[in-house]
Symmetry: C2
Subunit: 182 residues, 2 copies
């Protein structure tokens, strides 16, 4: 149950409306915890009801009108509690690995094209992360907060690097493989 905490983090970084949050999730936080706007609106409602955030007082809240939220002390406390609490890593769920395992039984026909496509996707993501690193973390600055955020970004960069290398390795192996289904 991490979406509310992702939202609290984002709101602490900067109070925002639902749509602004959605956009920021598409760019930064969402890189490791994605969410759709529907999820976000629903969760904002719950968080407000629970007294962890509140709508910034501006015009009466109605449909089609911006409503920005800020985090209340109770929300900050809950986030601090959650951050410090022990949590097990969630088990990995990777479809491509599953498909390769299946291909070992039913044949590799057709999967190679998608491996190539995934390689391109991961290369694009890697390029995007590198651009963010270049822009937001130039060699000079290293406050504590920036260090932590940079560490997180490095995880993203290194993970994408891993996948591009692994996919390239897989593809290099591939043409030689006879097709068990043939």
């Amino acid at each position: 149950m991490s979406l509310p905490h992702a939202i609290l983090t984002a709101l602490l970084e900067k109070p925002s409306s639902g749509l602004e949050l959605t956009r920021r999730f598409d760019r930064s936080i969402g890189y490791f915890w994605s969410a759709t706007h529907q999820q976000i609106y629903r969760e904002l409602g719950k968080l407000e009801e629970a007294g962890l955030i509140r709508a910034l007082p501006a015009g009466q809240p109605a449909r089609g009108q911006k409503k920005a939220y800020e985090v209340l002390p109770a929300g900050r406390a809950e986030l601090a509690r959650w951050t410090a609490a022990a949590q097990d890593p969630r088990p990995m769920r990777d479809t491509m690995l599953l498909r390769l395992r299946a291909a070992a039984v039913v044949g590799t026909e057709g999967i190679e094209a998608d491996l190539r496509r995934h390689l391109e996707l991961h290369e694009a993501q890697l390029a995007e992360y590198r651009e963010i690193e270049r822009r937001d973390f130039p060699p000079g600055r290293d406050g504590a907060e920036d260090r932590l955020r940079h560490l997180v970004l490095r995880a993203g960069i290194d993970l994408e690097t891993f996948w591009t290398e692994w996919l390239r390795h897989a593809l290099a192996d591939f043409p030689e493989l006879p097709d068990p289904a043939a």
Copy 2:
């Protein structure tokens, strides 16, 4: 929607009962697509109803009695179709990265212990994968199926290697960090 295909793969490798499947998920397939026994039983029911698998004819099927399943041709065809179909990688969801991002705002107090614990967990998983590699993929053999399965295992090994290194790096950085909450 990958659980049914994970089950089809496992059943093609070897026809099994629900409990046997559960055990095999705990060991091999589950390393990259985990499932509980309740999920597995439910899915076996659906797959049977859909005509993709069937119960091996043995004693009348009743509660508390083993019931083994095998894959029917329609099931194999569906698995082949699914394996070859283009699929987007699912967005990453990592709680620890989220927590570090939160820690940049609410303070790092308490999280270090859990980083250490995660490091141990990843080290243990890595050791387990290495043991499997030593046992199941000795240098000599390299049939097509084994090559694919080995490739998948290598992904697991390299991912765990990445995480252990990243966590060690994070922890090495840590003691120097002043606590923003202090």
